[in-house]
């Protein structure tokens, strides 16, 4: 299959073009992602949902430059991604394994900046702001493993914020925290996104979460993956865990996404890969 050659929209910050990923194994080749094409505008918050095993993580690894796609390409601000780009930060699901256990919270947040050669004063300011933003200004001397799961994920988010990325990728970041913490963290992401104007691609398997968080939801088909549907979430910009979730429109959208996922699970595929 030819990669999609349509030009990315000029204002696109992140652009995925005809992405395909095939794993070579003993039992033959396995096509995890067939043909994915979509764009994210600068400053957009988009959620990516799909049935389990739909290649979400594969896609994210290709976007973040951790893995090379078999075909197609990822463009960040018009430039092709060939390794982890500087303008991008990733928050992983496994908070317990993404922070350095031998460093205190503050050092964890500071390390990427130090490695970039950011001057000390600037660094301190960025780290303080980031910790403040995620509500962790009071624990900089703790080690990550001394904190609860939700707080560890806050540290990981603080590290991403302090890095000042233009694109923030989140790989099911709240899948392993309890429900209440999860609601808090969802609101935190909305706040941070608005404050920083960063482009966010949020991968999740939780339909409610995707509708609540996103301006837009991209639904993936089952593997080999293509875009099943790309819908705009026309909910009011101010979101609230109670009010937004009880809006009739929220229910409609949730219903729609749910149906699409069910279809995807049954193996239904769109006629052509939409963009």
């Amino acid at each position: 299959m030819q990669p999609d050659t349509t030009r990315p929209a000029p204002e696109a910050m992140l652009s995925v073009r005809g992405l395909k990923k095939v794993y070579q194994t003993d039992g033959g080749d396995i096509e995890a992602v067939r043909n994915l094409t979509f764009d994210l505008r600068a400053g957009e918050l988009a959620c990516l949902v799909g049935p389990s095993g739909s290649g979400k993580t594969t896609l994210l690894k290709c976007i973040s430059g951790l893995m090379a796609p078999t075909e197609g390409e990822v463009l960040l601000d018009g430039k092709r991604v060939s390794g982890p780009p500087k303008k991008m930060a990733v928050v992983f699901q496994e908070y317990g394994r993404s922070l350095f256990p031998w460093m205190r919270v503050r050092d964890n947040v500071e390390l990427p900046l130090k490695n970039q050669g950011v001057p000390k004063a600037e660094r301190d300011r960025l780290v303080d702001e980031a910790l403040e933003a995620v509500g962790l200004a009071h624990v900089p001397r703790s080690y990550p493993w001394q904190l609860s799961g939700g707080m560890q994920q806050r540290v990981a988010i603080a590290r991403a914020i302090a890095y000042q990325p233009e694109v923030l990728l989140m790989d099911e970041p709240f899948a392993a925290v309890d429900a209440q913490t999860r609601a808090d963290l969802e609101d935190l992401i909305r706040t941070v996104w608005k404050k920083l104007g960063v482009t966010v691609l949020f991968v999740t398997h939780d339909i409610d979460e995707s509708v609540y968080l996103g301006e837009r939801v991209i639904i993936l088909s089952s593997s080999p993956t293509v875009v099943q549907e790309d819908i705009v979430i026309d909910l009011p910009d101010e979101r609230d865990q109670l009010e937004t979730r009880s809006l009739p429109r929220f229910t409609e959208l949730r219903h729609h996404v749910y149906e699409q996922i069910q279809l995807a699970k049954k193996g239904h595929r769109p006629a052509a890969a939409t963009s």
Binding site: Y23, D26, M67
Partner: protein
């Protein structure tokens, strides 16, 4: 760097994240072939160093010559007698050390008073290098096998004792109390509760002790001159039988490998029923 990491990940399986870790099947034969290539490469390098005169052949004979000497040894009764002497000292020393350590370990371990009272003494005696006892062994036993046994036992004893103490301390209090409420006596509790818990630790201790015991057996033969491979190595060196000496060094390495393989095998066999709870204390 990036190509290595992404390759490793690409072979991680079709479901990323789930397929982390080493995959069975492909890769293994390739790895094994590479390992064989590594050994052949080492032998070739060894062959070339004296042949090219980088090191004089009188001090480092080529690999082929040493391997030929080893093959020759394999046909000699005297060689096997030496191996037998070394293995006898190794085995007896190990048995004595394990028996003593198990007995003391279970007694000390099952009483918190004894554990606390002996802790300082154990921590003090354990780091004493067993070779410090060489003069004493010579004085008491001369070149007899008892010299080797004394050194081997002392060194191996601590390896096992420490592991047994950890193992006994690891016993689940709930299980122990349950056993007590059902009226199991002291012996029965040891047999059905303490021993099964401590067994993985004990096996680790024995495996470590087996390696240490070989080192000390060879040391005693080398330094004191009790019969065995170590003494033969010293004799070959002073007698100028250089290829013979290197052949014997290779032989000790082979014995070391065999002991490792054997110990891992025994460990696997005895612990097959609860491989999930296997644990090892780094001490």
């Amino acid at each position: 760097m990036s190509s290595v990491t992404s390759d490793a990940r690409a072979s991680g399986g079709p479901v990323p994240g789930a397929g982390r870790g080493r995959r069975p099947g492909r890769g293994l034969p390739v790895q094994r072939l590479l390992g064989v290539a590594g050994i052949l490469g080492f032998l070739a390098t060894w062959e070339l160093i004296p042949r090219l005169g980088i090191i004089n052949e009188r001090f480092l004979p080529p690999a082929s010559e040493v391997i030929a000497a080893l093959a020759l040894d394999f046909g000699l009764t005297a060689f096997w007698v030496s191996v037998g002497e070394t293995m006898k000292a190794w085995f007896l020393g190990l048995i004595i050390a394990v028996s003593l350590a198990v007995l003391l370990g279970f007694i000390i371990g099952s009483s918190s008073f004894l554990r606390k009272a002996t802790n300082s003494t154990v921590e003090f005696l354990r780091p004493i290098p067993s070779v410090a006892l060489i003069p004493l062994a010579v004085l008491l036993f001369g070149v007899k096998i008892e010299s080797s046994l004394m050194l081997i036992t002392y060194a191996a004893f601590w390896q096992v004792l420490i592991q047994v103490l950890y193992g006994v301390a690891d016993v689940d209090m709930v299980a122990s109390n349950t056993a007590r409420t059902y009226g199991l006596g002291w012996m029965a509790r040891i047999r059905y509760v303490v021993f099964p818990t401590a067994l993985p630790y004990l096996m680790t201790g024995i495996r470590l002790a087996a390696t240490v015991a070989l080192v000390l057996a060879i040391t005693a033969e080398l330094v004191i001159g009790s019969p065995g491979l170590g003494r033969e190595i010293a004799l070959a060196q002073s007698g100028g039988a250089i290829s013979g000496m290197y052949a014997l060094v290779l032989a000790t390495g082979l014995i070391g490998v065999l002991i490792n393989v054997l110990m891992r095998f025994i460990e696997k066999k005895t612990l097959s029923w609860h491989s999930s709870v296997r644990s090892e204390v780094v001490v």
